[in-house]
């Protein structure tokens, strides 16, 4: 089964091509093509997951191109991690595509939307099954491109096109790091293949310094893609894209690619200097708390969720940083579902209420039953309430943090957990409870609510798979090969702490927003300085940095135009002058050609006669 995993990635490509070549004619039917491709991909993914059930690993590869001694291969590396990611990506993608039928109804570029989503799905799947870093990098850039295309889907809007460019450029900053890391890796190992690199790293022939540099450069790429401080600023702006796209790309899948990259190359981080992982943990934790604080101040429903996403990605990075590989992946998986659910629910709300400002909503639970209840499930899940999946994965991370003995990180993460519960319930209370502010709000069509219901199931229950009370099954399943498995006993202290933080956050939120006992503004205003730090300081720094880069680029460009182009133009000019002279010979006067032909034939005959015959 696993050897056909490439089919999963190829089918969306086919869908993309079909839609692309029939762009004008296919119209709404594009949705069915894309959904069919992704649905088939989901079934295959489940099959692949079943194949790798026992923890088996499959690799397939074939030569892509050969240049001199260099042979580049493409292939698949199907391990439990890849299989899980396949299922996550195809499931979320499928549900988002179905949901989009309702959400994007009447859109005039609908077929293009589905083409881009299909291309994105294909790229993401290819990223997941890649067996070497080069293929991963190509897919990485492809998903970046799709992200750009979809953020700027409504490119008539200035804000959308600027947001698309911002996303592209800022992730590009990280990608430069990733690329340099790749180059460094290849120079030292002469291979891109995961297994080969793993063996070389295990053999210890690479210096710790080199490995640390590679690890940090990779992390730069991951930070760009996964919106880690200070490269997180693009993600809130990316909310200009259609909401289903936000759910798919900017919540569930693509932004997780950074986490995936770090997880895939975790053996490099482990072999590197411990500082590398500490940087990951530090930046992750800082991002988590910073984004959580900013989320509290946001009034746009999608922005709240965007910062929440950044915060949760910080959680995952922090987990990786403290060595919680499986915890990070577990959280990635659960987060993919409940955050997708949240975004789709937000989309449903926006669809029904016609606004994104949470203070223009209110009491929507009465109007939108399905959306409201599923949203509540997801909110409880992300807040970390006991049997729901968010609880188990967050608890896992906290346990790992505690186990690593890094109590600063643990503290920060606990505060973040409290803030998470607070801002999520703030959102929930403002939007779904209280007085009805918009009488025209209505429930979304079934094509949108059913994906919500379906997503609610994993959002609520998936965590049980990794529950230490139920035997830590998920952890065992995706644990790194060779790494001895730590039988994590249930850490009741951590469970208690995290539950306490979550309940405190919910309670605080209930007081402020549910009952409105205290004026919310005083609290929120006191937090808005963090927002300033974010919007003004980081953006400005990045802008200045870009300006410096631009200056260097301009200098180089001037060198290029003056000197390099001067040479090229000079050569071209000389040739051009000769050509102009010679092209006069091509007068269009055919008998002149004939005469030249006769003369040339004569000379040739004479030459042949004297050389060969004589």
């Amino acid at each position: 089964m696993a050897q056909y995993a490439w089919v999963i990635a190829v089918m969306p490509v086919l869908a993309f091509l079909i839609i692309l070549f029939t762009l004008r004619r296919i119209k709404e039917k594009a949705a069915y093509v894309a959904i069919a491709a992704t649905g088939a991909g989901l079934l295959l993914s489940l099959g692949v997951l079943a194949t790798v059930w026992g923890g088996r690993i499959f690799t397939y590869q074939t030569t892509w191109l050969t240049a001199g001694k260099l042979t580049l291969k493409i292939g698949m590396y199907i391990d439990p991690l890849a299989a899980v990611m396949l299922v996550v990506v195809t499931t979320v993608s499928l549900l988002v595509q179905i949901y989009s039928i309702g959400y994007m109804k009447g859109e005039k570029r609908l077929s293009w939307y589905y083409a881009a989503v299909s291309l994105f799905t294909a790229s993401m799947l290819s990223l997941v099954i890649a067996n070497n870093f080069l293929q991963l990098y190509i897919s990485w850039e492809l998903v970046g491109l799709c992200s750009y295309l979809l953020i700027g889907f409504w490119y008539e809007k200035k804000s959308a096109s600027s947001a698309a460019m911002k996303a592209f450029i800022i992730t590009r900053i990280g990608d430069v790091g990733f690329f340099l890391g790749l180059a460094l890796l290849f120079v030292n190992t002469h291979t891109f293949d995961f297994s080969a690199v793993r063996q070389i790293v295990a053999a210890g022939s690479l210096g710790a310094g080199t490995l640390t540099a590679i690890a940090l450069l990779f992390f730069a790429g991951a930070a760009g893609k996964s919106a880690q401080f200070p490269l997180h600023v693009w993600l809130p702006d990316a909310m200009e894209g259609p909401t289903p796209v936000s759910a798919l790309i900017h919540a569930a899948t693509m932004v997780a690619a950074g986490v995936y990259l770090v997880a895939r190359s975790f053996f490099i981080f482990e072999a590197a200097h411990p500082a590398a992982l500490q940087v990951v943990a530090g930046i992750g934790a800082f991002t988590a708390i910073l984004a959580a604080v900013i989320a509290v101040t946001m009034t746009d429903i999608k922005k709240v969720l965007a910062y929440s996403t950044i915060s949760q990605l910080g959680f995952m990075m922090a987990a990786l940083g403290v060595g919680g590989y499986t915890a990070a992946i577990f959280h990635l998986t659960t987060h993919a579902f409940f955050k997708a659910l949240l975004f789709l629910g937000a989309g449903s709300v926006i669809h029904g209420a016609g606004t994104q400002n949470i203070y223009e909503m209110g009491g929507l639970l009465k109007k939108m039953k399905v959306t409201g209840w599923t949203f509540l499930i997801a909110t409880l899940s992300i807040a970390g309430i006991v049997p729901l999946s968010g609880f188990w994965s967050k608890d896992e991370i906290l346990t790992e943090a505690a186990k690593s003995g890094n109590y600063i990180i643990l503290g920060v993460l606990l505060v973040t957990a409290f803030l998470t519960a607070f801002y999520m319930f703030r959102l929930y209370f403002v939007v779904f409870t209280g007085p009805v502010r918009d009488e025209h709000a209505h429930e979304s069509p079934a094509v949108m609510t059913y994906p919500l219901l379906i997503l609610a199931v994993p959002a609520a229950l998936l965590g049980l798979a990794g529950s230490p009370l139920l035997g830590n099954w998920f952890t065992k399943f995706i644990a790194l090969p060779g790494a001895e498995h730590i039988a994590a006993a249930p850490d009741y202290l951590m469970m208690g702490l995290s539950t306490a933080a979550a309940l405190a956050g919910i309670g605080f939120s209930y007081v402020l927003y549910g009952r409105r006992a205290v004026t919310a503004w005083s609290v929120v205003n006191s937090l808005s300085s963090f927002s300033w730090l974010n919007t003004t300081f980081v953006d400005k720094t990045i802008r200045d940095g870009l300006r410096v880069t631009l200056g260097i680029s301009n200098g180089l460009a001037r060198f290029d135009t003056r000197f390099v182009d001067g040479i090229v133009n000079g050569v071209g000019g000389v040739i051009g002058t000769f050509s102009r002279y010679f092209s006069r010979a091509n007068s269009g006067f055919i008998q002149r050609y004939a005469m030249r032909f006769v003369i040339a034939f004569m000379l040739l005959a004479v030459a042949v006669y004297f050389v060969l015959v004589r």
Binding site: F589, Q591, R592, M595, V598, I599, M602, A605, V606, Y609
Partner: protein
């Protein structure tokens, strides 16, 4: 000097002067008819080579077909508006260069060809061409080229019709 040689000299004289007339004259219609005369004399040369069939074929094609086509083309394109053909420049500006080129070509060819020794067959050139034998050769050894040439002629026929008909 045998009768054959005499005939050869006479025919060569007519052919070469006819050809020269074709490439020199200002009167295109004269050139066309002189062309027919030249071709007929070439047919006579074929007769001298005992190839009666080819001689008849040459006459048939040039008298029956080519001259007709050329005359029709002349009439359809106002190449020759008056019978005396005056007032139309029929040579281009590279006349002198062409003459030199042709002369050089002739020099090269003569220089190369004249000293050659040819393996002349002992029965030659008095063997009479047998039409039946020739037919047998064409339809046995050369059947493929024969069919190909028939396809080429068909293609040319269709092509000429497509090209020359007025679109309406």
């Amino acid at each position: 000097m045998s009768g054959q040689l005499l005939a050869f000299w006479a025919l060569s004289f007519v052919i070469l002067s006819g050809a020269l007339y074709i490439v020199m004259t200002k009167n295109i219609m004269h050139a066309v008819f002189m062309h027919l005369l030249t071709m007929s004399m070439i047919a006579a040369v074929y007769g001298l080579l005992h190839a009666d069939f080819m001689a008849a074929m040459q006459v048939l094609i040039y008298a029956g077909a080519v001259t007709a086509m050329v005359v029709f083309a002349l009439m359809l394109t106002k190449s020759q508006s008056r019978p005396d053909g005056a007032g139309i420049a029929v040579d281009n500006q590279q006349r002198g260069a062409s003459f030199l080129t042709a002369a050089g070509f002739l020099a090269v060819v003569i220089y190369v060809l004249v000293p050659q020794k040819w393996a002349v067959h002992e029965a030659a050139p008095v063997v009479k061409s047998d039409v039946a034998a020739m037919g047998a050769i064409i339809f046995k050894s050369y059947i493929l080229p024969f069919e190909v040439i028939s396809v080429i002629l068909l293609a040319a026929l269709i092509g000429v019709i497509v090209l020359a008909r007025k679109e309406d």
